[in-house]
Symmetry: C2
Subunit: 254 residues, 2 copies
């Protein structure tokens, strides 16, 4: 098979182009096809599905380890995927992968996650897309298990595709892979979310902190699957309509 | 009924505290209870569900028209609602409303919307929450129809509540209200999204532009309802799990 015939895999993240996680994911993607990295030029955690509308974007080329070529974008993860799709890639990607994020994107974290939003943007643009995160925040975390999970999921998606409108979200513990389990987004939230302080000029300010709280009793949620030592794989959609409630309410005249 | 017994309504937005839209929404909310405005101190459009984790937040008090008291927050819409809930309000709100946004948050715009994310954050924190947007981007747009719709929806929700986990998202055309219709989030996207330019130093940069594209054939989607002149009301959820695909995939071993 010639180089040109290999699948093109776009790799993005939200920790920025210099994170160990994006390199770990690019290494796995490289086993399946040609890798192009297009990612934010700096840390963009918790930006959610933000896009940049009031300033222009710039990109510059770079190499990782003299091995992977890429473009660093002065915007968000979703910006990076949009710009790659529209301007930066020579041909359309066969797959969009995002991560490996340093930190969990399970439960309510899915909403705040730039890693997931990059993959969701890939889905909106019509590409099969997968987000990968490791629950360990450390930059030195052992990502080998998450890489093994990525190998299985990327192989599956390249062979079978994904239905339109659906993104896969994988979270894995650090260390060796015990296995992958399908899971729901856990019902969860953060509590006690700010720490108030007084600055040297006697003005108050607040740091976002917060304790994660699992509200879910069923075992098939992503947080519980992770606590049991498995990687959790969740199909997510960007149609946010609550169809059960819509059917319940649609006869009410307002 | 004493002042203290009236419902407390938290008003947020993403256009910032100085937008006409937040004042228009506060006026309607004031008919139902005590209003507290906590909103970003500047324009925050298209920030999605971003939260601020790497810098602290500040807030300062202000008055709109010597009438509504509020706090301007140096963060995103979701930050503002979190900070209001956790630090800034004397008691828990009975309702969270966000808007009136200057510009549509229907179809795929729901994902990028700071207005919607403020309301979603209210839902996550356990409050009945509603987002309001007018399809007209102009700061001079006639918001009276959107205000009439807000009056009906706020009245309904204060009387009947909302199921946990569900947010209402209302979009209205400018001008008089023709009526409110329940609707789904339209299947839609943006195409041709960047305009490349060369700066005076001969370096390229890109402006996000994009044409909105409706991919939806059914009439019950929010964009089509708006095109027919009605306000569109959509129940949305923050559990992003694709349950149909989960049921289809969960027997596949990876």
């Amino acid at each position: 098979m010639s180089k040109a015939e290999k699948p093109l895999i776009l790799v993005c993240n939200d920790d920025g182009i210099f994170s160990p996680g994006i390199k770990a994911l690019a290494e796995v993607a490289d086993e399946f096809g040609n890798v192009e990295i297009v990612a934010p030029d700096r840390q963009q955690s918790a930006v959610g599905h933000a896009i940049t509308v009031s300033t222009p974007l710039r990109s510059r080329s770079f190499m990782i380890d003299n091995r992977f070529s890429g473009q660093a974008v002065s915007g968000t993860p979703a910006d990076s995927v949009k710009l790659a799709h529209n301007q930066l890639l020579n041909r359309k990607p066969d797959l969009v992968v995002s991560g490996i994020n340093h930190g969990s994107n399970a439960g309510i974290n899915i909403l705040y996650s730039g890693t997931v939003s990059a993959a969701t943007e890939g889905t909106i643009l019509g590409y099969p897309s997968i987000a990968f995160s490791c629950t360990n925040f450390s930059e030195d975390a052992d990502l080998s298990g998450c890489q093994d999970a990525a190998r299985k999921v990327i192989g599956y998606v390249l062979n079978h595709g994904l239905p339109r409108g659906v993104t896969l979200n994988l979270n894995a513990p650090s260390g060796p892979l015990k296995g992958i389990r399908w899971a729901r987004q856990a019902n969860s939230r953060y509590v006690e979310e700010f720490e108030g302080r007084i600055d040297p000029h006697n003005r108050s300010y607040y740091w976002l902190t917060g304790k994660f709280q699992l509200l879910d009793q069923e075992e098939d949620n992503d947080i519980t699957v992770l606590e049991q030592g498995y990687a959790a794989l969740t199909p997510i959609q960007y149609d946010l309509t609550s169809y059960p409630l819509l059917r319940e309410l649609e006869n009410i005249q307002l």
